[in-house]
């Protein structure tokens, strides 16, 4: 009996809490992606690169002498500007053709290639360091956790909650949901739809950039870091339902838990194939994912 309890406390619990900290990171990435798809119907294959740009921006700001907290506050704002410009300058150009899905996918795919090389040209190919702003660790239930990871979990959780409130409880969120549900009707009701689109894309990009800054002290910064989260973020969004915030949060937390706990029993090399297998099964059972689209559910 005590052996089982000990296993629960010293083996399973830390694994689950670690899974939670990874899960929060994944959900932040997936949120931006699903919002962009839910409203704009745009598959943003460059999302990973925006995450990387956020981390690099933090490196640059830290290099200018600012503290980590300033970088954390400023980066999303800068990313939002970048996102707005990208939507207006690039995405809009292919948005109105009938092959929109394919073209935006291809466009963002090409953009990802370019952005990755740009980062390499500006910052070099070698990895860079962002100092952990909160050092040390705490004892929780007899286990040791780094303080910064606890901070990321808490901050991430608050952020997710804030996004929820913004989308479902404010009039701004209502406008966005209305534009997602029926853009022509919203336009005739006076909603500046094209600006809403650009702003939403900017918001999604800002979320990705923020994730980049938050996670930089843990995962370090290097030009191909955009690929770290791409597969898992897309899988989470697909399983949760493209455009569903609830889906992204639930699927993100659940799947990272599944991966964490399963790595106790099978080699973690199978994490990605496992995730992929789950995605295929979910799609076979419910081709639209678990929950519906933004504005529809």
């Amino acid at each position: 009996m005590t052996e089982a309890l000990e296993w629960l406390q010293f083996v399973l619990a830390p694994q689950m809490i670690n899974g939670l900290s990874i899960g929060v990171a994944v959900v932040l990435m997936a949120l931006g992606l699903t919002i962009i798809f839910g409203l704009l119907d745009v598959i943003n294959m460059a999302h990973g690169e925006f995450y990387a740009i956020g981390a690099y921006l933090a490196v640059a700001l830290l290099g200018l002498g600012l503290s980590f907290w300033w970088a954390l506050a400023l980066t999303p704002m800068l990313m939002a500007v970048l996102g707005y410009a990208t939507e207006r300058g690039l995405i809009q150009r292919v948005f109105h053709s009938k092959d929109r899905h394919t073209l935006t996918l291809l466009l963002t795919f090409g953009l990802a290639i370019v952005l990755e090389d740009v980062l390499k040209i500006i910052f070099g190919a070698n990895p860079l360091r962002v100092e952990t702003p909160i050092t040390g660790g705490s004892e929780l239930f007899g286990l040791f956790f780094p303080n910064y990871r606890l901070f990321v979990m808490v901050a991430g959780g608050l952020l997710i909650a804030a996004v929820w409130v913004l989308v479902f409880r404010t009039s701004l969120g209502a406008i966005v949901r209305a534009a997602a549900f029926d853009r022509h009707m919203s336009a005739s009701l006076g909603v500046p739809v094209s600006r809403v689109y650009a702003a939403t894309f900017a918001f999604g990009v800002a979320l990705a950039g923020l994730a980049g800054v938050l996670l930089a002290p843990i995962y370090s910064v290097f030009p191909t870091m955009g690929r770290d989260f791409v597969l898992i973020a897309f899988s989470v969004v697909i399983i949760g339902g493209m455009g569903s915030i609830k889906g992204a949060v639930l699927a993100g937390l659940l799947l990272t838990q599944v991966q964490s706990i399963s790595s106790l029993f099978i080699s973690p090399v199978w994490n990605d194939p496992l995730l992929f297998g789950i995605m295929v099964l979910v799609l076979m059972w419910r081709p639209r994912g678990l929950f519906g689209k933004l504005g529809h559910a």
């Binding site: 690039l90 394919t102 073209l103 290639i113 090389d117 040209i121 597969l231 990605d272 194939p273 992929f276």
Partner: protein
């Protein structure tokens, strides 16, 4: 004139002209290169043709069925590995290797297709991507397949006694013949009821069941067909280079194939061949001048997607067609 309207699947003369230009041009190139005693450019061109075959398989799915595959390198790499193993461990025969690779790709295509075909659009793209990721990771870790180093020491494949794949000109012509046959086959297929079904599915899939056809079966067949084309093209690779490595299954290869198709002209079938030839040459040349070739190709691609989404051949064909028709009507008027 009325003839053309009743039979819209007939290939425009301009497109036929472009196809002729491509294959005739290839032959001229082979002649010139052989006379000059070149080896490198013949092999580079053979490689461009091999990846052109992969591009054809992507175009079958993207341009003809309307599905974007982001993991076609899976079948290409599979064909390459199977071919390498046959040549090295069994018999260095060109024909045997092609047949075995074809069978293996068909089987893999069936399995992959059953998993992927139920989805559309971005779901399909991501499942295709995920499949390639998983399998390439498995191959990367399998010691019997050479793991991350791949398999070296693949002997030249004997086509007929006296001609094997190490001969630069000979193998270039053999590859050209294979690609030509695949192209002809696809062209012919597009004119058959099967091909029309695929066009219907691409135009409006939801309507197809109301006409009495099950789109799933057609899409699966197209997927298997594309897998076979990719696999056969891949089988040619170790014959040319004498080795295979897991990088042949990585996303870079799938991504490059998609870029080749879009730049060349999706749906035109000959466009992807042009795209592959142009971009393989471009990558080789640009890569010698700067380490930042990725960004140049990436920018080119973005520009094409925004400004010329129909690709090179896709844009040139109507232009040339108009010119040809203008000339023909002038002739007819002249005769009257």
């Amino acid at each position: 004139m009325p003839d053309k309207q009743l039979n819209p699947a007939r290939v425009p003369d301009a497109l036929r002209l472009f196809s002729l230009l491509f294959f005739a041009g290839a032959l001229v190139f082979a002649l010139v290169a052989t006379l000059v005693g070149d080896v490198f450019f013949l092999r580079l061109a053979t490689e461009a043709l091999i990846f052109g075959g992969l591009a054809l398989s992507v175009d079958l799915l993207l341009g003809r069925v309307g599905l974007l595959p982001l993991g076609q390198a899976l079948f290409f790499g599979l064909g390459a590995y199977v071919s390498a193993l046959v040549l090295k461990e069994w018999q260095a025969s060109f024909w045997l290797s092609l047949v075995v690779s074809l069978l293996a790709s068909a089987l893999a295509g069936l399995v992959g297709g059953i998993i992927a075909i139920r989805s559309k659009g971005v779901y399909f793209a991501l499942i295709s991507f995920g499949l390639a990721q998983v399998v390439s990771k498995v191959v990367f870790n399998t010691r019997e397949l050479g793991a991350s180093d791949g398999i070296i020491g693949v002997p030249g494949a004997v086509v007929v006694p006296g001609l094997d794949s190490t001969a630069p000109t000979g193998f270039f012509l053999v590859t050209l013949a294979v690609i030509f046959l695949i192209y002809l086959g696809l062209r012919y297929l597009m004119d058959t009821p099967f091909g029309r079904q695929l066009s219907a599915i691409r135009t409006n899939e939801d309507r197809v069941p109301f006409l009495g056809f099950d789109p799933w079966r057609y899409k699966l067949l197209a997927f298997v067909g594309a897998a076979c084309i990719a696999g056969v093209s891949g089988a040619l690779y170790p014959m040319l280079r004498g080795f295979v490595s897991p990088e042949l299954m990585f996303f870079q290869v799938s991504g490059n194939a998609v870029i080749n198709v879009i730049v060349g002209g999706a749906g035109t079938l000959i466009g992807p061949l042009y795209g592959s030839a142009l971009l393989t040459g471009l990558r080789s040349v640009v890569g010698s001048f700067t380490a930042h070739h990725q960004i140049i190709i990436g920018l080119l691609f973005v520009v094409v997607v925004i400004m010329f989404p129909r690709g090179l051949i896709g844009y040139l064909t109507p232009l040339l067609q108009r010119r040809l028709e203008a000339r023909r009507s002038r002739h007819q008027q002249g005769e009257q």
